[in-house]
Symmetry: C2
Subunit: 361 residues, 2 copies
């Protein structure tokens, strides 16, 4: 399909979710690409401080007071003073596709100097199938100018629906605090012109800075956990969502892609502050990864919601002993699903016409 | 390490194995990069037709008469009139690293116009660890200018030894005959500047056109099967080796990388001839892939040889019913290992100093 064709068709099916906008230049820099779309801005900090949105944008803005008002007794599942609050926007959206981006990410350029329309590339990734069961050495076989290579089984070439598209960052790489401290000057200058499916059974570190997903297929699994104010960790919100989302996508037969598009990540966050937020996560992840690598979901879990509730039980049973925090997190995972079902009353199994390509296996 | 440093150290540890040289320009074009190394040329066709090697190259040349003489009653395990005969060179080599390349592959250029030293990139890939247990979104974390991203478990950052490095092709992509027929004009023009580990448990279609491996770690699994004259299939030699090699690498805790380096693949083979060679393979692979995806090797299999003999038993037990060919292939897999042990009498478990990095898990 042509680029403009795909964009035009999807304009009404996409929400852009942004967790706070501190940088006034952010929307101006993205105006050419974002203005046609609807924005959901979730203010992560003090609700008395306003956010100034430039003229011409179509947006909704929510602060903590709105979260409390809309979710009531369930509002505790949304993080406070942390960009993890963005998932409130996922909950409120009624669109099929979500693109979420941080306010320190700007328009990157490809090696020819052309500005990259990140959202358009994400939509291409989401609208074409994934290939999680076998690795294609020329990467995404659905990109123009490429295909499946010799030896790729024909029965697997139809692919499966794509649940998520994970984009990357030029300039400041998404390093943890220890790596930031050891390599303060390292910048990502390598433009890797590839999109690929992360194979079934393989986990990856998801980053929420530049991420898109099919809300109908996997939205309920995109809970960014409990981070920030009052919580013992930070900077693990997208990791948590990524691990949960990947094991659920694997179970439901959906694919997850990574690679293009790039954004220009402008600002290195403070490594000393990050170390304080991360240190428990760095320790805990050594137990979380084996847990997620061995998660098995029963056949009865046929929707992202059912999978997520089941996963919350396993989190409580197996990670509760790592730290009391995981019992609380497991309870909030359930609250999140209750809130999802309240705000999305028809959100059951995706209808067959909700699948962009092929069908779930 | 510096590029020239790595190359200098390894000069005595590398053999370049080439299955026949029909194109007289081939070695001239590679002279700057190949002349410092030792070549093993295995002539795949009529032994009465000589191969002219330009002056200045250090080489051994073997034809069918040599294979029969050296292997005697075991010579039937080496394919005749097919590039699969290249594995005879793997058997005879005494070096730690093998680079194998086809005579229609020439020096490619990177986007800056610089000629790519394919062998040097393969050695870099083989000398740095692999990361098969978790996907790094910035690709090979051991490349200059990159690292493990946030959320990558620290306990997995040491990596595992790299068994094989699978390089790619610009210009003519490695498509099967049906895809060649459908897309006769498609050329691969996309230079993807990445090297990555294929995750544990994931299979890929290996191509022998531009391939390197650590012979001490995985050499015995690099058997290219029975193809060509007198056999019911062709063009599946590297696929077969790739599936066997990958499940054995996964079992032994070694990694397999794919991506850089590129070579320039100049010649499209005849799709009608290819279709005749491939059609059974295209059908059979639908049963072969599920077989390899479910292969389980016992703990007692601690070397590539032991794994390969065990795999031959499972091939016979489970694929023999697909076609009688697989019984014959299984027998020849055993013969291949017998030949390997005869020609490499000390080839037992790799010594700890044979591991380029870390240790097998």
């Amino acid at each position: 399909m042509s680029e403009t064709g795909a964009t035009a068709i999807l304009k009404e099916e996409v929400d852009i979710v942004i967790p706070t906008i501190r940088n006034l230049e952010f929307l101006e820099k993205w105006r050419a690409f974002f203005q046609p779309y609807h924005l959901i801005i979730v203010q992560d900090g003090d609700p008395s401080k306003g956010i100034k949105v430039p003229e011409g944008f179509d947006y909704e803005l929510y602060n903590r007071n709105d979260i409390n008002r809309i979710l009531g007794s369930k509002s505790h599942c949304i993080s406070f003073k942390d960009s993890a609050c963005r998932c409130f926007g996922f909950l409120l959206s009624k669109k099929k596709y979500i693109f979420t981006i941080d306010d320190d990410c700007f328009v990157a350029k490809d090696p020819s100097g052309k500005e990259i329309n990140a959202l358009e590339q994400h939509l291409k990734n989401l609208l074409t199938p994934s290939t999680p069961f076998f690795f294609n050495t020329l990467y995404d076989p659905f990109r123009e100018g490429t295909d499946f290579v010799r030896g790729y089984p024909f029965s697997l070439r139809e692919g499966v629906p794509t649940a998520a598209s994970h984009g990357l960052w030029l300039n400041i790489p998404d390093y943890d605090a220890p790596t930031q401290l050891v390599k303060p000057l390292e910048r990502n200058t390598r433009y890797v012109d590839a999109v690929m499916t992360i194979p079934k059974g393989t986990l990856f570190p998801m980053c929420g800075m530049n991420l898109a997903f099919n809300r109908e297929l996997i939205g309920p699994a995109m809970y960014f956990g409990l981070m920030g104010d009052g919580q013992p960790i930070g900077r693990y919100e997208a990791m948590w969502a990524g691990w949960c989302m990947k094991v659920i996508s694997d179970h439901l037969g959906f694919g997850v892609k990574t690679g293009l598009p790039y954004v220009w990540h402008s600002k290195e966050s403070n490594p000393f502050v990050n170390l304080k937020k991360e240190y428990k996560g760095i320790y805990w992840q050594e137990e979380l990864i084996p847990f997620f690598q061995s998660v098995s979901l029963p056949k009865e879990c046929t929707t992202a919601q059912k999978c997520y509730v089941e996963l919350s039980k396993q989190v409580k049973a197996k990670l509760g002993k790592v730290d009391e925090y995981f019992n609380k997190l497991a309870d909030n995972m359930v609250t999140w699903i209750e809130a999802w079902e309240e705000l999305n009353p028809s959100a059951m199994a995706p209808k067959s016409d909700a699948l962009p390509n092929g069908s779930a296996k």
